[in-house]
Amino acid sequence: MENGKKILSNFLDKTSLVKPKQEDVEMAKQSFSNISQNNYWDPTNFIDFERINKNCIKILSKLFFLKRNPDKPKKQISIASLILIVGTVGVFLLNFNSSIKIDPDAWLMYLLFAIFPLTFILIDYQSLSKDIIKIQVAQSNNFLYDPYSDYKKWFDLSKLYPEIFQKGNSSQHVEDQFWGSLTKNSIDHYFYSGIFTYTIRTQNGKNSSSTTYNTHFFSIKLNKKINTRFCLCRESIFSRFSKKEINTESIEFNKRFSFLYDGKKSEKSLEIVKQLSPAVQEKIIELDKKTKGMNILFTQDCVIFLFTGFLLKRSKTNLFKSVEINEEDKNFISNKLDTLIDISSDISHYLD
C-alpha cells in the first residue's frame, strides 16, 4: 500500500499541469537560500536537507513558471469547464432526443469522465498554493518546510514514540513538516511539527472499509531532560498506557485532562506533578483553549502536542484569479505557528 501511495504521488507529480522550464528552476534555486544544518532540530536526529531542498525548489519553480504564464490556470480551468458543460448538455440531449437506448451506467461513466479534468485541475492548484504558502512562511521565519509526504520519517518516529505513531494498518506517513527555532529570554527553543496520516482498513467478510485519520503534531525540544514519560489526554488515544487518577491543584486543569502513564501511581505521581508546576498548567490550559482540544506526550527530551485534523489548513489564495499568494493565508499560518511556538516554549522554559 505504501508503494501504491508513492506511485500515486509520483503520478500526480508527473501529470501535474504546471510544467516549469529550466529557467524557472534556476530562479527557484536562486530564491531558495541555502539552509544550514545547525539551525534545526529533529527528534530522529536526521533531516534530509537535500530532499527538502529539491522538493521546495520543485514547488517554487512552478510558482515562477506561473508568474511567467499567469493565464495558464485560467485557460486550463476554462477548457475543463467546457468539457464538463459540453459533456453534461450532450448527455441530456442524447437522453431525451435519441431513439438509441444506452445503458444508464454508461451515461454515469461518461459524466464522471467529464468531471475528472476539472476535479484534477482544482486539486492540483489547491495543493500547489498550499505548498507555496507554507514555503514562503518558512522562508520568512527562517524555518524549514518539506511539502512532500515522508514515509521513512514515519517509520523512525514510530520507533521513538509508539504511543503516537504506531497507529493504523496502511498508508502511514508524515507530511507538512516544519522545523525551526525561536529565541526567547536568550534561550533557543527548537521545534518540529507535521501531520501524521494513517489509514485503518477493516475486512468484514467480502466487505472492506477504510478510514483515514490526520493528527497534527507539534514537538518542542526540552533544554533539560525530564525523568518521566507520561501523557495528558482528553480522550484515550494512548492505548499503551493505563489510565490512573492523578490530581493537580488546579480544578480547571483536572477537568480538562487525565493522566496516562506506565508504572505504579505511587512511583510516578510525584515525579509527574513535580513537572507540572502552576505556570506549566496555566500555559497548557491556555494552549488547550486556543486550539480547541489537544493531547500531550511528555518524553525525556521533548514535549509533543497533538491536535486532531489540519491545524494549519486555510486557503483563500486563488491561483485561477491571480498568481499571487493571499497575505491573509500567510498571516494565518504564521500566527498559528507563532502561538504554538510561543506557548510551547514557555512550557519548555518552566519544565527546564
Binding site: N185, N247, E249, S250, I251, E252, F253, S277, P278, A279, Q281, E282, H349, Y350
Partner: protein
C-alpha cells in the same frame, strides 16, 4: 407500594446529600492544595532572597535602603498567617525586587555577575510561578465559593457549616500603596 416509593425518594435524597457533601470536601481540599502550591513558591523565593542580597551588597553600595526593605519584607512575610496580610506583603516584595532589578542596570559589574544573572532568572521564574499558583488558587476559591452559594449545595454547605474561602489578593487600597514609580 407507597412505602417503597417513599424509601426510594429518601434514598435518592440521601445519596444526593452524600454526593454534594463529598464534592464540597473535594473542592475544599483543592483550595487547601492550591494554597500549599503558593506556599511552596513563596518559600522558594524567600530562600533565594538572602543570596541575592549578598551578591548585590558587594556591587551596589548605594542601594542599601532597597536591600534593607527587601530583607524586612521577607522577614515579615515569613511570620504572617493572615491571607490578606501575606498577599499585601508579597505584592510589596515583588515590587521591591522589580525596582532592585531596574536599578541594577546602573551597575554594569553587577549586571555581568554570573551569580546575579542566575538569581535574577530564578527569581523571575519563581515570580511567574507565584503569579500562576495565585491565579489557580483564586480560581479554585471561585469554584468552591460558587458551590457554597448555589442551590442546592448551599443547603448542604449551611448544614455542615462550610465557610467561604478568602481570595489571595490585596485590597484595592493596599494595591495602591504597592505601586512604585521609577
Amino acid at each position: 407500594m407507597e412505602i417503597k416509593i417513599l424509601l426510594i425518594i429518601i434514598g435518592v435524597v440521601f445519596l444526593g446529600i452524600i454526593s454534594m457533601f463529598n464534592s464540597l470536601i473535594r473542592l475544599k481540599n483543592h483550595v487547601k492544595n492550591s494554597w500549599s502550591g503558593i506556599d511552596v513558591q513563596l518559600k522558594r523565593r524567600n530562600d533565594l532572597i538572602p543570596n541575592l542580597v549578598n551578591v548585590v551588597k558587594g556591587y551596589a553600595t548605594h542601594e542599601k535602603e532597597t536591600l534593607e526593605n527587601i530583607v524586612k519584607l521577607r522577614n515579615l512575610s515569613m511570620n504572617q498567617t493572615n491571607l490578606k496580610d501575606i498577599a499585601k506583603t508579597q505584592d510589596q516584595l515583588s515590587s521591591s525586587l522589580k525596582s532592585l532589578f531596574a536599578v541594577s542596570e546602573n551597575y554594569p559589574n553587577l549586571k555581568a555577575n554570573q551569580n546575579f544573572m542566575e538569581l535574577q532568572s530564578e527569581l523571575s521564574k519563581t515570580e511567574n510561578q507565584i503569579a500562576a499558583s495565585r491565579r489557580i488558587y483564586n480560581e479554585n476559591v471561585t469554584y468552591f465559593n460558587n458551590k457554597i452559594e448555589t442551590f442546592p449545595s448551599n443547603i448542604i454547605a449551611k448544614m455542615f457549616s462550610f465557610k467561604q474561602a478568602d481570595f489571595f489578593e490585596a485590597t484595592k487600597e493596599e494595591k495602591k500603596e504597592v505601586n512604585i514609580s521609577f
